[in-house]
Amino acid sequence: MENNTSPASKKSNGMRRHERNSRILFILSLLAYALLMFATREQSGTAILAFFPIVIAAVCWGWKGGLIAGLCAFPVNALVLIAIGVDWHGMLNPIGLVGHAFLLFQGLLIGFVIDLYKQRRNAEQHLKFQVEQNAADIERAQAAEHQLKAVLEQSADGIFITENQNRTIVLVNQAFLKMTGLSREKLIGNTTLCFVPEIGKTYRTTLGDKITIDTQYYEDNYDILQKLLTDGMVKGWEYHIVGPDDKLVPIEANVTNMLDQQDQRIGAISVVRDNTGHKLAKKELSKTNDYLNNIIENSVDCILLSDSTGHITHVNQAGIEMMGYTLDEMIGKAAMEFFAIEEGQYETAAGDSIWLSTKDIEAVYGRMSEFFEAGKISNYASYMMHKNGRLVEVEHNISLLYDQQGEIVGSVSMARDRSMRCRMERELSRQTELLSQANRELESFAYSVSHDLRAPLRSISGFSTALEEDFSADLPDEARNYLQRIQKASTRMGLLIDDLLNLSRVSRYNMQREPVDLSALAVKIIEQLREQMPERNVTCTIQPDIMATGDGHLLSILLENLINNAWKYTGRESSPKITFGYADKDDHRPPGHEDNATVFCVRDNGVGFDMAYVDKLFTPFQRLHAEKDFPGTGIGLATVQRIAHRHGGRTWAHSTPKKETSFFFTL
């Protein structure tokens, strides 16, 4: 208030000064009057001058009220003088003196009354001025409050103000109303209890989960309230308010104490922010993080995360197990350290023993260098070193990781333990090698046996023939018959051995794949058969331009066998028919043959076979017809099957005797 130099106070000071001057003038004029009365005591009419000091006093005051009082005093004065019967000359007698004294007293009285009046007027004026001033102040304060309220209303954060002690709400803004779902009427004058969750109650939250408000919850918040009282403010206070539909809204509040001029706490302002969105985003992020962490941690592959300098920042559980180091032992180390290998004999994690040559290692490093060029390398065979010195054979992938600005932030390296698989593969390849060696031995055995069998067979055939020729005359018919049987049997055995040799040759033959025109082969085979047996009249239908990829020589043998068979087994038909072409869609396919491979087919309308024995068809030496009906060794179809197998294909057959017999093959 000291610095409040309002115009009202200035005026008041001026008035006081004026009053003082007026009184001095009034006293001076009284003295002048007394002197004048004394000097003019014998003259008439001087009494008129008795009014003079009063008029002067009034004028000196500069106030019309003073003049009126002075003028009023004149008749009163005159009347008093006449009533007491004095004349102008009797003024100096005792009565006159009383008259003068009264006059003097009257002047003083009037001056005093006027003084009082003026004082009162001044006081009134001052008060009025003060009132006006206050009104203006209040108006300004109201305008400021209005602005403040508008700002509060506009705030996106909820704001409420509580009074001291009972925490009565005295102000809330729109945002807070929205947050609580309550009306202003409901909140103002009420306590904060109308939006604070109740203890012991279970609420659903805007995050979609459920919370039970326990005493701990209350205790925690009570502690924060205490902090508010001691510190004067609390920031980032997280608690819940009950929102619309009785759902809890997670909020974050900044609360500041309001103080009066004596620094006494009179209330608190709370600015609260709805944390739902923030929390949901955080929850979502944490969910994503959990998800990713789960993937990394539960991966059966070793996952190494490295920073941009190639130093390990994280290793998952599988990696820890795969390498035998603890997480601490690996963090911060260069990832490449664990992939470093040199030439030597190693025991693998699967217990296998392998030798890594310089060449093997160069091959690994060669692939690894792709990573440095392309920033990515997939599925290359590499090695990691277990803490126990064992070699872990891995299938390795590395990719650089980039941030949104495209800067390299690190790399992720995934290694799959293939030690066991590699061991199996090596075992398998050893077994395969053994097997193929055994097969080669068997083939060579079959070959040499076949050859060696031929020599004695020639002797049997030769000498029995010689015996019959040279000693025919000495031999009884029965003996000659036996000799003929020996010759026939040895001839047949010769054929069997030849077919066996052919079969073994098919297996050992060095295949060369090329496009083969099967139709042309079939035409050629039939031409040959027609040449050999011109007496046969067989209707042959060859579907043109059937191409296949395979070995021309072997496929020729395959078709020769099938067409020869068809030719042979239609020998007793009156109008024999043979066709070669693609199989029809509705052709029979046994189980396991339902794939999409192209199926070729040789059909005839010959004698066919009993489907009960279909399984024996492709077995060597298995024949379904008597030798005397249809001669043969039973090797042909076995050869067909072996050729199909060598091409990765299959064979099967179907027969309706005397109507249609079909032999199918794929390549």
């Binding site: 031929r454 020599a455 020639r458 030769g462 023939t465 010759q487 040895s490």
Partner: protein, 146 residues
């Protein structure tokens, strides 16, 4: 100077007997020189060993050579024959049990003139011998080096 000698290089007694019988049945009356293996054959051809001092102007008209023999097999014998200028032009016919591609290829690579597989059936064998004799002894024209 005798002419038209047929040389048979064969270790198997039965096969030899049957071959000779086949010649007989075909009325082939030429002189037959028999060697039991490659070493014997070369001794005869080059006049070494038991045949030391033999008149090397006399050479067989055709040599029937088996492949599988002890000491020295057919292929090696053939190489030696082709490797010597005295014998390099002699007609050599491989007569064997084997019809293996590899044996055939090797024989032809070493300069064999013909390759015949012995059939099991004796009558067929007789027929084969007949044809090869006819061809090499009668039809075929051949320069005589000596």
């Amino acid at each position: 100077m005798q002419k038209n000698i047929i040389m048979v290089v064969e270790d198997n007694e039965d096969d030899l007997e049957l071959t000779l019988r086949a010649f007989a049945k075909n009325n082939i009356l030429n002189e037959i020189v028999i060697a039991r293996d490659g070493v014997e054959a070369l001794d005869y051809l080059f006049g070494t060993g038991v045949h030391e001092g033999r008149d090397l102007r006399v050479m067989p008209e055709v040599i029937l050579l088996d492949l599988n023999m002890p000491r020295m097999g057919g292929i090696e014998t053939l190489r030696k024959i082709r490797g010597d200028k005295r014998t390099k032009l002699l007609p050599v016919v491989v007569l064997t049990s084997s019809d293996e591609e590899q044996d055939m290829t090797e024989s032809y690579e070493c300069g064999v003139n013909s390759y015949i597989r012995k059939p099991v059936d004796f009558n067929q064998f007789v027929d084969s011998v007949k044809q090869l004799s006819l061809y090499w002894m009668v039809l075929n024209q051949h320069p005589h080096t000596s």
